[in-house]
């Protein structure tokens, strides 16, 4: 209790005080603001990745097209993958988790608010670093064996062609120093490395939040499924990111410092890269899809007016998918020279994933069965998720038949499969969540007519864009193909795909208009617009800065629903007489806390620290010149300096004489 007095209350900077305006966003440690920033950034990259996809589709609309150069096409499909995976689906998942996790477990913030801010700023700096390749990166012609340079037609060297072009998988040695000599691939390797740091910090933070910050009475099996899926995702991140970190370090060292890990000419093994990459890469798929599964598991019960069918089964199936997900990586490499035993083993382990996935699908169906289904926009997206994800899951089973996969791998059949999983799955789930929780951000609901228009255009566009890819793949269209021959008859189907892609783009425009319009003019939502079930809806919309005026006490799964509804003798839900009164009371009480509430103070250091990392990365890329060396030192000084400042900055400025001893804990409520 005496420690505070001995510590300096301000360190390098005066403690930021603003709660509004530009600086409040830079220095905030509020999980909601961080979640919103994550969300907008992710959506921006969704637009960028989508535009890249449209360019790809324009190129492929007909055979032997000249719309893009080969270099541009390769750069576009590579950055499309990197952007959608690392800069859209992952951070948008982080956005949902950031915003919702404390609300759903009944906490005022995450366990480590400043680390939360740090993870967001590191994400942003990594993303900007990655895309700064446009200004600082270069692509030079490929080198053949013995360092013979290839030839590029001058007209091929364009701005877009200068983006990283090794694919998101960055297979070695094609993405190694010999065959991708320009610095563009370095930006991809180091950018993903920085993004990984952000995800790792988030993962630790979310796990501790879930383990230690739940509201009183919220036992593990009373947590909303979204919280469970966040936990599973965080574990996946925790255990898969270090592996890709090692692979990325090796790749960077091969490129920048001459190590020989994957360089066949020096005795290295390119297949090791594949193992390391997919040891991360396959869990990554579940990192992308599990949050969406969590969202859907929240939305379906609300609009079926029934509890989630088989809650425990859904939860454990999610855990099972994650666990099995670490044992299937080599199914991405069936066409490498694995032994028959390994091929068979990975084929079988891949099949087993279908079982927990099936359990989820059937339980979602069971949730809707016998319900009273309201076709609101979030519900449409959630139903769309279930229907489309089934297709992606089943085509996944056909891949597990290893000899079939020898035909299918690296064709558009795979592209179709994972877009059904990641677009039909993850993105439909994300939109369900955006429509569903929009009131929590704004206090308004999104326009339903526009929302449904968005859904149907997207549904049609999505199937038009990705269903024909199954056929194209089985007809032998390989992936990452800049051109295809007229004799292949791929043309009409590809044209259909391109039209589908533009249809999706149109639906996204509808969404963006709806979002912008509804933010200002949407109908007021009140406290409980959907007649919801979970405790994030027991607090006013938009969410007050302190979340809960009083720490909630939870007595059951779907706590809020049970506050409002009882059951009659048949087991049918009956709204309690005082439910409306309760909602009004919650709304009023949530806005008027009985006593002032402590929140963690803002801080400059997370932002500053995040600035240091890309400087080090630039330094590594340009380490041969003096500028690079200066940048490495500068970046290290900024990072370590802000770490020191951070260490000396108490979480909360002292206020009065009580409880001071806790102030340098990460969060007062942490215990």
């Amino acid at each position: 209790m005496t420690a505070t007095a001995q510590r300096p209350s301000t360190t390098i900077f005066r403690r930021p005080k603003t709660t509004e305006g530009f600086w409040s966003w830079i220095t905030t440690v509020d999980h909601k603001k961080i979640g919103i920033m994550y969300g907008y950034a992710a959506f921006t990259f969704f637009i960028i990745g989508g535009l890249e996809a449209l360019l790809l589709r324009l190129q492929l609309a007909g055979p032997n097209s000249d719309f893009l150069t080969a270099a541009e096409y390769n750069a576009m499909f590579s950055t499309h993958g990197i952007t959608m995976i690392f800069l859209f689906v992952m951070p948008v998942g982080a956005a949902f988790m950031n915003y919702l996790l404390p609300l759903m477990v009944g906490a005022r913030d995450v366990a480590f608010p400043r680390m939360n801010a740090l993870s967001w700023w590191i994400f942003l700096s990594g993303a900007l670093f990655l895309y700064s390749v446009i200004f600082f990166g270069d692509v030079t012609p490929p080198l053949g064996v013995e360092g013979v340079p290839g030839n590029i037609d001058p007209s091929d060297q364009t701005l877009l062609g200068g983006l990283p072009d090794g694919g998101w998988f960055l297979y070695q040695p094609n993405a190694g120093p010999a065959f991708s000599p320009g610095s563009a691939v370095d930006f991809a390797l180091l950018g993903i490395q920085i993004l990984g740091v952000a995800s790792l910090i988030s993962a630790v933070n979310f796990l501790v939040t879930i383990f230690n910050m739940r509201a009183k009475g919220m036992r593990l099996l009373r947590m909303p499924v979204f919280v469970w899926m966040t936990m599973v995702t965080a574990f996946l991140l925790l255990f898969s990111l270090p592996i890709i970190a090692v692979a990325l370090f090796m790749g960077t060292f091969d490129r920048s410092f001459g190590t020989l890990f994957f360089q066949a000419a020096g005795g290295g093994d390119p297949v090791l890269w594949q193992h390391l990459f997919w040891l991360f890469g396959h869990p990554e798929v579940y990192i992308l899809i599990l949050p969406a599964m969590g969202i859907v598991s929240e939305v379906l019960p609300v609009f079926s007016r029934k509890p989630l069918f088989g809650y425990a089964a859904v939860v454990f199936a999610g855990g099972g998918i994650a666990f099995l997900g670490f044992g299937v990586w080599a199914h991405h490499m069936f066409s490498s020279a694995l032994t028959p035993v390994a091929q068979a083993a990975f084929g079988l382990s891949t099949m087993t994933i279908a079982i927990p996935t099936g359990i989820k699908i059937f339980n979602w169906l069971g949730t809707m069965w016998g319900g009273r289904i309201r076709f609101t926009t979030p519900m449409l997206f959630a139903i769309g998720f279930v229907a489309m994800f089934v297709i992606g899951g089943l085509s996944g089973v056909t891949h597990s038949v290893v000899p079939s996969d020898w035909q299918q791998t690296d064709t558009y059949y795979i592209v179709a499969h994972f877009h059904y999983v990641l677009f039909g799955g993850a993105i439909f789930g994300i939109f369900a969540g955006l429509y569903y929780w929009f009131p929590k951000l704004t206090g308004r609901v999104m326009n339903e007519a526009l929302g449904k228009t968005h859904f149907w255009i997207q549904m049609i566009g999505f199937n038009l864009a990705f269903a024909p890819m199954h056929w194209l793949g089985l007809q032998g269209m390989v992936r990452r193909t800049w051109r295809y021959a007229p004799e292949t008859n791929f043309g009409p189907w590809n044209l259909a795909v391109t039209i589908g892609a533009f249809t999706i783009a149109a639906s996204i425009l509808v969404f963006m208009f709806n979002w912008t319009w509804s933010k200002r003019k949407g109908a007021a939502s009140g406290l409980d617009p959907w007649d919801a079930r979970t405790i994030e809806w027991t607090i006013p919309n938009p969410t007050p800065e302190y979340n809960f005026a009083e720490n909630p006490v939870v007595t059951s799964l779907d706590h809020f629903w049970h506050m409002k509804y009882g059951e009659d003798t048949e087991g049918r839900a009956v709204r309690k007489d005082d439910a409306d009164e309760l909602v009004a009371r919650l709304d009023h009480g949530g806005r008027n806390p009985k006593s002032p509430i402590h929140l963690p103070n803002p801080s400059y250091f997370p932002f500053l620290m995040a600035v240091g990392l890309p400087l080090i990365a630039y330094g590594i890329i340009f380490h041969e010149g003096i500028v690079g060396k200066v940048l490495i030192v500068l970046g290290a000084v900024i990072t370590l300096g802000s770490l020191l400042g951070w260490g000396m900055e108490p979480l909360e400025e002292p206020h009065g004489d009580d409880g001071g001893g806790e102030h340098d804990a990460e969060l007062v409520e942490a215990h």
Partner: protein, 385 residues
Amino acid sequence: MKGQERPVPLGLARDGADTYTRPMVQHPRRRRSEESTRPFRFGGVALLAVLVSSCSFIEIDSPLTTFEPAGAIADRIDGLFWPVFWIATVIFALVNIAILYTVIAFRDRPGRKEPKQTHGNAKLEVTWTIIPALILAGIAIPTVRGVFDLTECAPDAMTVEIIGHQWWFEYQYPDHDIETANVLVMPAGQDVCAVMTSDDVMHNFWIPALNGKRYLVPGQVTLLPLHAYEPGEFWGHCAEFCGLSHSLMRARAQVLSLEDFDAWVVSQQSGAPVPAEGTPAWEGLQVFLNRGCTQCHTVDFEDNNLDIADNIVPDPGFNGPNLTHFASRNVFAGAYLPYEGLSYNEALTQWLANPPEVKPGSFMPNLGLTQQEIDDLIAWMETLS
């Protein structure tokens, strides 16, 4: 908090919602229950229309199709694919019919009561765990057998060494001392074992009609058994992204009857004829010898005593296809050229005039050949049968 008008809960039918008594704000013009099902119907019909109209293309197979297996291995794979495909299709249909039925039958509508609050059913959970497991076990058995039967080459198989280059495949027949490119020639009815490696990055060799695909890894050797029942020509493609012109790295397999194959072997073992002096072909040969082509390309001449033969010792670092029997192959430039709408000679002219323009990144540079030089070269290359 102003505006107590709250559209809560959205989309729930008002009239007849007997157990649900709380006041709700309705959209002024339309009843929500109608609004919510109409787009649903419309969307379903539109989706169906798209699916039906797209069926018209379905009859046209691509030369790369996996649906027309032409050998024992590809046949076996095809036989594995279809049962699984149909199982998947049936499950897909059942699940989606169930979804459609559920959302239609249990949609909110006037008079619908609040649902019973069921939390789950242990018997159902067990059922839908075990049934998929059984189906998968049924799929697993033929899968495992297929894997063990299909990964290794037959002991009496003829060996072809396949070497991947950016961006073309080289084929060597060690038993016959033949070196060729782009077109893999093999006998019908006989097992062939492709012994593969790569010269630079990873490639992936794939002739869909003859087998699935297998990586070519630099510094390592991988095996791919191939088999064809009947003579014919089959298309192939490099399936792993291998750099700038990956999409133009293609392959052909030409399957010959045993007699034709033997004849092909004999013709390939002969050297190239030396053209008569003064002919366009002779001029073409001079272009070949004097404009740097020999840095990368080998041509074995019939007359080994010829002075010019000594010139043709490519730098090992530069590697281009062996051109001795260039004209015996119907495709060139990584089996990319010619394509439909571009004749052989037109394609060859374009290629020789500016290779990097035709094939980005190509290690064959633009030599600035004149049209006359190109014509002469083509005249000479036609003699390389």
